[in-house]
């Protein structure tokens, strides 16, 4: 298996694009109403802790991806079981992301086009880039991250005239329970999803820099989400924000600078979909790697196309309507994903630390009897 190495900067770019991806189209923390931005900040802190844990795991085993680490920690049999669970989880999440993106395109502008066409077109590109490998993915992200962040910043600057600070007050008006819920939701998707990068970004050119890459990526991605959330809230107010599916799209459609620079929401959606594409590719990559691992194959490329086709199939049969999808997405998903994002990594870290200590001790015993 040829190890594919990417640089720190490319790793950070991938994580940023991943975080910005679909989550900037749908605002997730709306249970906290006016305080959803506070929920994002809290979730960001939690996500940084998780990123730290994962970086620690990766630093203990710098040569391996998460699947290999699981096998080392849990043994061959139990390890395969956990890998299977993880692969299923990633596959399922990938389908959700695919649905997110295509539903957005479908509802916001191409309402007469069958969704399946958009899915196939998008998946085709994902298969392509995943087959080209992690290096191409890294270079692609590195190239596009600057324009995407630039566009988002411009979007925010142009929205400033429409902002109304009163939309945020009074602060902390919703109480503690919705707040915790909202924090959990934002954490579950996308901020806590760092675990996927222990699979996808398996090799960095500098071995020690997992802390830097994971945490910087999560931090910048989280801040961009926070700023987009604040912009939407400030421009639209909570009533409209919670009433529509695609807040950023609506905010962008309200921009009007001197009657000339207006109607730019399609540009904004295009930018967000660029990021969403990376997100989807990462899921496809990680799922394929999981499947390859289960079958004991060193290279994942042979399985990319079948996985992509399965994703398209599942996305068609999974939900009947966007209403059902949204309900599921908000009410069940966060609990479903919690074990994979937090519980397993903590267990793995504990076992890994114990193993490392033992091997170190045994080495010491051997060397100085």
């Amino acid at each position: 298996m040829n190890k594919e190495v990417i640089s720190d900067k490319q790793g950070i770019s991938i994580i940023i694009l991943y975080m910005v991806g679909t989550s900037s189209i749908f605002m997730t923390a709306l249970e906290a109403e006016k305080d959803s931005w506070l929920a994002i900040i809290m979730a960001l802190f939690m996500a940084l802790i998780v990123a730290f844990i994962l970086a620690r795991i990766k630093t203990l085993f710098p040569e391996d991806d998460l699947f290999q680490i699981i096998e080392k920690c849990f043994g061959k049999f139990l390890g395969k079981g956990i890998i299977l669970l993880y692969t299923g989880y990633l596959f399922y999440t990938g389908v959700l992301v695919l649905m997110n993106i295509t539903q957005f395109i479908n509802i916001s502008s191409l309402d007469e086009t069958p969704e399946i066409i958009i899915r196939v077109a998008l998946m085709l590109l994902c298969v392509w880039i995943v087959k080209e490998g992690m290096e191409v993915l890294g270079r692609w992200s590195e190239f596009f991250v600057i324009p995407i962040i630039g566009f988002i910043l411009i979007f925010i600057c142009l929205s400033i005239p429409k902002m109304n600070i009163h939309h945020l007050f009074p602060i902390l008006s919703v109480g503690i329970t919705p707040m915790i819920h909202a924090t959990h939701f934002v954490f579950a998707f996308p901020l806590g999803e760092t675990v996927i990068f222990t699979i996808a970004i398996s090799q960095l050119s500098v071995k020690k820099s997992y802390y830097k890459v994971y945490m910087t990526g999560v931090l910048i991605g989280g801040i961009i989400l926070l700023v987009i959330c604040l912009t939407n809230l400030l421009v639209l107010g909570i009533n409209i924000t919670s009433g529509v599916y695609f807040q950023t799209h609506l905010t962008a459609s309200l921009i009007d600078i001197g009657g000339f620079l207006q109607r730019i929401e399609a540009v904004m959606t295009v930018v967000l979909i660029l990021a969403g594409f990376i997100k989807l590719s990462i899921y496809l990559l990680a799922t394929s790697m999981g499947v390859a691992k289960i079958f004991g194959r060193p290279d994942y490329r042979f399985v990319v196309t079948p996985v992509a086709l399965l994703m398209i199939n599942l996305s068609v049969i999974l939900f009947d309507s966007i209403m059902e999808f949204m309900k599921w997405d908000v009410e069940i998903w966060p609990y479903f994903s919690l074990p994979f994002q937090v519980i397993f990594p903590i267990i793995i870290l504990i076992i890994a630390e114990a193993k490392k200590k033992r091997t170190k001790n045994s080495i010491r015993e051997q060397t100085c009897p």
């Binding site: 509802i107 007469e112 007050f169 107010g237 309200l254």
Partner: protein, 388 residues
């Protein structure tokens, strides 16, 4: 290599097939559609039907250049039905993404279910944009506003849009895009308003005019404000950007009317709370310049200026007070958003009075402080001197 070529050919064939067989879904030629510029919605009580009047761009039949307006009327059970019926009348699909204004009639505005269904239609449909201006017709029907464009070959919707964009220099109406209107309906602390549009008959032609405001209590039209009252309303909500303040000269024989042009205005709204009673404090600070003097008095010297400032402040205070009282007593609708201020500044108290805010609002005391500052006097430093 050969295999790759074969693969590519198969792929291209598949792609071509998809292209040929399925057609292009959202692909719509612009000349196969009618560009709707404005719509007016009426409600016919007898038949319980919605009447939609749409202004669209007339096709010039192959000639270059000129585009004119065309108006079509359709009926339907509800808004969407009426919209679909447009196709029958025009023979082509309608393009709603360039609609500028939506005019509703008084009948519609007084019926909650009609108003809600219109708003829902606008926001739900992908094509209609949320920044359409909403207008309330003061005429019998909303449709006639649009219909008068045919005669003059002018696009009424475009003219209305241009007018609405100039709110800052007229200040006799408060332009409201539809998303804001919906927001106001949904929000706790404020009730919506809609500017009213009139038809004016001059000697030569009919024209559309916008001034005044329709006052809503949430979703129901409860009353009107005229142009001057609307200006005071703008003063209260702090959205005044310009306009003219006309002072009657006080020395009856010496001076005539004086015009002050408003240049800048800031309204600070605060809540004073003592012993269970809420007072709304408005601090209005207006900067004006002298625009017109109808007499000989030299307002350039300090005392005269001061006097003028005081007069203006008094006038503003009176007008603002009048409009607040009128809305409180006659309409019982918090179009000023006082509730929002209370919620922001006294969240605990707000929880208590939230239920019967309408009553609280009616009895709400206001404390209005106005400060006027004259900054400049345009091009002239002295009034016109009349020779003996």
């Amino acid at each position: 290599m050969k295999k790759l070529f074969l693969k590519m050919i198969v792929l291209i064939l598949i792609a071509a097939n998809v292209f040929m067989v399925s057609g292009c879904w959202n692909y719509r030629e612009i000349d196969e559609m009618e560009i709707i510029l404005g719509a007016a919605i009426d409600y016919d009580e007898k038949s319980n039907k919605v009447i939609l009047t749409a202004e669209y761009v007339k096709r010039s039949g192959g000639g270059e250049g000129e585009v004119g307006p065309e108006v079509v009327k359709t009926e339907g059970e509800n808004v969407f039905d009426a919209v679909r019926n447009l196709v029958i009348k025009t023979g082509r699909k309608a393009l709603w993404s360039h609609t500028k204004v939506l005019i509703i009639s008084e009948d519609v505005a007084r019926r909650k279910e009609q108003l809600i269904s219109i708003m829902d239609w606008v926001q739900r449909l992908t094509e209609t944009r949320d920044d359409i201006w909403i207008l309330l017709s003061k005429e019998k029907t909303a449709g006639e506003i649009l219909e008068m464009g045919i005669e003059a070959q002018k696009m009424v919707s475009m003219d209305l849009t241009d007018l609405l964009k100039n709110e800052g220099s007229i200040s006799k109406f408060h332009a409201v895009p539809i998303w804001q209107f919906i927001d106001r309906i949904a929000a706790d602390g404020i009730s919506p308003t809609i500017p009213t549009v009139h038809k004016t008959l001059t000697e030569y032609k009919t024209m559309s005019e916008i001034f005044g405001t329709g006052v809503f209590n949430k979703t129901k039209l409860v009353g009107w404000l005229n142009g001057a009252e609307t200006m005071s309303y703008l003063w209260v909500i702090g959205k005044l950007k310009g306009g003219i303040l006309v002072l009657q000269g006080n020395d009856s024989n010496e001076t005539g009317k004086m015009s002050l042009e408003i240049q800048k205005n800031r309204t600070k709204r605060k809540v004073n709370y003592s012993e269970g009673e809420i007072t709304m404090q408005l601090d209005i600070k207006t900067t004006v310049r002298i625009a017109e003097i109808g007499g000989e008095v030299n307002y350039m010297d300090e005392s005269a200026t001061e006097k003028l400032e005081n007069d203006a402040a008094e006038l503003i205070q009176k007008r603002v007070d009048d409009v607040i009282t009128k809305v409180q007593q006659a309409y019982h609708s918090d179009i000023f958003g006082f509730a929002g201020v209370v919620e922001r500044e006294l969240p605990d108290e707000w929880e208590k009075i939230k239920r019967d805010w309408d009553q609280v609002f009616t009895d709400l005391k206001t404390d209005i402080n106005v400060e006027v500052e004259i900054r400049e006097s345009a091009l002239k430093s002295k009034p016109i001197k009349v020779g003996e």
